[in-house]
């Protein structure tokens, strides 16, 4: 590997897998930042576990993206040798950990979606994506349960925890719309039965959210303005810093085996 950015041929199927791989890697990376620094040891364990699941999902999806692309890229080249404009993840997952409430709300919004998404994707006509979905769905269900329990604890805990978790909901809400957006390339895959239409999940996603938010004595924002851009490589300023850390070894010591 050289340390320069790789060229990627984003065919619709390759890009589809790449986007989900980037979601999983970036969120997994964020969660791994907690390891050794969580509020209680049980959460050091849990957040690391979830991070490991997501990094595992990322590896499978990168592998499939590379295979679909049919060049000599592999999981590590795709992860370590693309710059911020080539990353295709949701803006939501790159948001900094913030306090524990922000981390949990980010996870809650994402996992509530991922749980539904992977369950539907189990019936994809693409056998590889269906297999990845079957594994990811089981993991996502656990991630959602874990995050939901924390949202309820924090919302219905103390005044401070209530205030913090509500602030996190308000801060991160605008990044949720992107999960349901579809572009032309994806529309063709949906039509072919390879992908599912995420727009059809929005109602059930909102129900999942509302059930938990109500029990937690919290509320969802009225503001329906949604930020977009991650899928096209227009990211927040946070992603560049994350990548500079994630990629530092491959950029500093190009082309070596580790």
């Amino acid at each position: 590997m050289s340390c320069a950015n790789i060229q990627v041929s984003e065919t619709p199927l390759m890009l589809y897998a790449l986007r989900r791989a980037d979601d999983a890697l970036i969120l997994g990376h964020r969660l791994s930042e907690w390891c050794g620094h969580a509020p209680i040891l049980e959460e050091d364990m849990a957040l690391s576990n979830i991070a490991l699941d997501l990094i595992g999902q990322a590896r499978e999806l990168y592998g499939y993206a590379a295979k679909s692309e049919g060049r000599d890229n592999d999981e590590d080249k795709l992860a370590y040798l693309r710059d911020v404009r080539q990353y295709r993840n949701l803006l939501l997952v790159e948001q900094p950990n913030g306090d524990f409430a922000h981390t949990m709300v980010r996870q809650f919004f994402y996992s509530a979606f991922a749980d539904l998404y992977w369950r539907e994707m189990m019936s994809s006509r693409d056998a590889t994506l269906a297999a990845i979905a079957a594994k990811s769905e089981k993991e996502s269900a656990y991630h959602l349960r874990h995050a939901s329990e924390w949202i309820i604890r924090l919302g219905d805990g103390t005044d401070e925890s209530h205030r913090r978790v509500q602030a996190a909901i308000d801060d991160l809400w605008a990044f949720t719309g992107e999960m349901f957006a579809v572009d032309d390339g994806e529309r063709a895959l949906i039509h072919a039965g390879v992908a599912i239409d995420p727009g059809t999940l929005r109602g059930r996603w909102l129900t999942t959210l509302s059930d938990v938010i109500d029990e937690a004595t919290l509320s969802l924002p009225q503001n329906d303005w949604m930020q977009q851009g991650g899928r096209a490589g227009r990211h927040s300023e946070h992603l560049g810093h994350l990548l500079s850390e994630l990629q530092s070894m491959q950029r500093t010591f190009p082309g070596l085996t580790w």
């Binding site: 390891c35 509020p39 050091d44 370590y80 103390t158 530092s248 085996t257």
Partner: protein, 330 residues
């Protein structure tokens, strides 16, 4: 990851205990029976074990920091996952050990508070920095290797919960050690720069790792009671020598040089190492290692910044219990 002989001298209170019970207790130990939490035990035995197990637990938790330092920078996705899983294992060991200490009547909270207040110790090795990726390989290979050497005999420790914890912990440590060595093999088969990185890491970690076994036997003040109670089955120097003898051929296989020009193999095949700089060891234990302040600051920050989360969880649990009681009364 590691327990170290850091105990301060225990008070010998045999005179204060019921002599018959004490004799019976020692007879059980001598017969290799396991002591369980509800069994009678001398106060000094309880105190020694609480201190040793909690120091071991603190070491696991503080030990997450030097390796955790590389999770976000691991060079490949495979390495990233493996390192994260390893550090997570260390956390699991810490939890497991706090639970073992709790069987002796100390709560996790009070043990953690003592550590954060600087009153309880953790292994000196975690006060050294991880500067390059090779440090991650070296920690797995040598630090976990030394830990295994120390902990295998603890699987036969007289206190049941500690002995059983060690069996599980040793299995995982053994996996970590192989994983670390495999990182070293990869580096040593790699470029000149990678080999130099591996040698540099060995140079920096070798002597601190030898110090992990604790002070030399001649200077060790408190092994007697631990030996009599079968908590400790080998002396510091015996374990250190075993470790050196096992490690030298591993370094040779890697093509690395142990940073001890005076090291020689004696007629019996033991690798005799040079004098260890015990001044450095004492300084690190006294809080003057390169990372003591950073490690404590990181643990205190996590604890302080997590306080509101723990309070919220407790408040919610109390509310829920109250609601359930109210419901049951209806």
């Amino acid at each position: 990851m590691y327990t170290q002989a850091l105990n301060t001298a225990e008070t010998d209170d045999r005179g204060l205990e019921d002599a018959a019970k004490a004799a019976q207790f020692q007879a059980r130990i001598d017969a290799e029976e396991r002591i369980e939490p509800n069994d009678w035990m001398p106060a000094a035995y309880r105190k020694t074990l609480t201190r040793q197990i909690s120091q071991h637990a603190h070491s696991e938790i503080v030990g997450m920091l030097p390796e955790g330092n590389w999770i976000t920078r691991a060079p490949t996705l495979r390495r990233k996952g493996a390192l994260l899983a390893k550090v997570q294992d260390e956390c699991g060991h810490g939890l497991y050990l706090y639970a073992a200490a709790e069987t002796l009547g100390a709560s996790r909270e009070e043990l953690v508070d003592a550590m954060l207040a600087g009153k309880a110790k953790y292994s000196s090795i975690f006060n050294y920095p991880t500067l390059t990726w090779a440090d991650i390989g070296t920690i797995g290979w040598l630090v976990d290797g030394a830990a295994i050497m120390n902990q295998i005999p603890l699987c036969r420790c007289s206190y049941g919960p500690y002995a059983r914890a060690m069996i599980r912990v040793c299995k995982e440590e053994s996996f970590h050690q192989r994983q670390g060595y495999e990182i070293m093999v990869t580096l040593c088969r790699g470029s000149d720069e990678q080999k130099a990185m591996a040698q540099d890491a060995l140079n920096r970690w070798w002597w601190p790792v030898l110090m992990m076994f604790g002070p030399p036997d001649a200077a060790s003040q408190h092994s007697d009671a631990s030996t009599r109670w079968k908590i400790k089955r080998f002396s510091n120097d015996e374990l250190r020598q075993k470790f050196v003898d096992a490690t030298v051929p591993q370094a040779q296989y890697l093509g690395l040089t142990i940073p001890d020009p005076g090291m020689v193999q004696d007629a019996e095949g033991h690798w005799r190492y040079s004098e260890i700089d015990w001044t450095e060891f004492k300084q690190v234990l006294a809080g003057n290692g390169p990372c003591n302040r950073d490690r404590m600051a990181a643990r205190r920050k996590a604890h302080d910044e997590g306080a509101w989360v723990r309070e919220a969880a407790a408040a919610y649990a109390a509310k829920r219990a109250q609601r359930q009681t109210a419901q049951a009364a209806e």
